[in-house]
Symmetry: C2
Subunit: 248 residues, 2 copies
């Protein structure tokens, strides 16, 4: 366990070797063992191998090379469709057309996704999460034919690694762990927490490459811009509404 | 890995034995190795051991016994507060006061939570997720002193198990896995998928106990009711707004 978790790195280059069916089955089953709210299992996992469909997904995921390379693409969805259908067939009136239910289903989907990612890695596979799943939810719904009650919330690509990147640096543990209650950060705390990252060679090359004065500007001005966030925010809320989770 | 994932069961009875500090540290570090969007690490984990504070948390988590019993309580939060403060100290203007950013931070927090849960189990500990974290987010914010930019999205209790429950039944894999694209469910599919669960002894005793005709009614009428969902839905959206994630 332990080694798998501590050895995780996102893989962005893949061999074309297919994943043996029995390994893929075990990986997906690992997803189903994650905690799920009230054992409702309000999530679905769409496993796409077909090259033509993966090409469409690649287009919606900002055309990142790895999406074409990796032989398997998995889309994790918040899914109340199956549960609602079951209720209606069993003389029960479902009341899950609201934001809380969407969020509950999101939690189910995301916990399952992390189990899938870890079990894949424990079997020698590599994975990478695609943050673009929520940005492009509307397009993914079309490609994967997701019905009402289903929203894509995460996606990963999976395959045999064709690179061995170093572990990604992380902030010191005191940055992300709070004892007893939340301890807010003083300006001195922020300086301390980010010191190592800001002083790294990686940061130096990012500043050079992006022509920026600070690493934070690389994020705010180039990578995760306010105008893009607002745009995709509106789109994602609209998707949640359209898929039937906005009864107020 | 593999065994840990496949042996997971939620633990609802705990011994009072404390968790050794070095084990807890390793468990929390496992959380920090999960994938995180753009390595922003926009989450925080609040580890509460203090009995008085845990008692307050117990009250907000619907007074479930296990919350008082388990020696450690961890609240996983979507957190842009630290990142925003860093940006402002580095001449960068953060644009993360929107729903997409909240959701991105939620994903970070939830992936970290699953790593924490699994690493705990790999070390002989038991855990249980508390679905009430989102229902009672407003109260948890008060108890843990969470500032703007921080929203609790999941909580787990952790300790040494004082019970050995059986594995929870799951729907057959074909219920939650779709090949290539989403295959919607026919009435016959729904009957098939739920047949084993509906025919179980557990279901028989739940129907008896709840005085219901179908298992689905136990969910819609007793466990996850429409009126409660709508109530907590409004409250959670209000929390997201109040914590600064609702710039449209």
């Amino acid at each position: 366990m332990t080694n798998t978790i501590f050895n995780h790195r996102s893989i962005r280059k893949y061999k074309s070797d297919p994943i043996p069916e029995e390994i893929l089955e075990r990986v997906m089953e690992a997803g189903s063992r994650a905690s799920t709210t009230g054992n409702m299992q309000v999530y679905s996992m769409v496993v796409t191998k077909d090259e033509e469909i993966r090409k469409q997904l690649w287009e919606s995921h900002f055309k990142q090379d790895m999406v074409l390379q990796a032989p398997v693409h998995i889309t994790f969805c918040a899914d109340f469709n199956r549960f609602n259908k079951w209720c209606r067939q069993r003389k029960a009136e479902p009341g899950y057309d609201n934001f809380l239910s969407f969020y509950t289903a999101s939690i189910d989907a995301l916990l399952a996704s992390q189990n899938v990612a870890l079990e894949a890695e424990a079997n020698g596979l590599g994975i990478c999460y695609l943050g673009t799943a929520t940005y492009m939810a509307d397009r993914i719904i079309d490609i994967l034919n997701l019905p009402e009650g289903v929203v894509p919330v995460a996606a990963i690509v999976m395959g045999y690694p064709d690179e061995q990147p170093p572990l990604t640096d992380r902030l010191p543990m005191r940055a992300v762990v709070h004892n007893e209650i939340y301890q807010d950060y003083s300006p001195g705390d922020i300086d301390e927490i980010y010191a190592e990252r800001e002083g790294s060679d990686l940061t130096a090359s990012l500043l050079e490459e992006n022509q920026k004065e600070t690493l934070a500007q690389v994020f705010t001005d180039n990578r995760y811009k306010k105008q893009d966030n607002l745009h995709f925010s509106k789109q994602f809320l609209e998707v949640i509404r359209k898929q039937g989770f906005y009864n107020q």
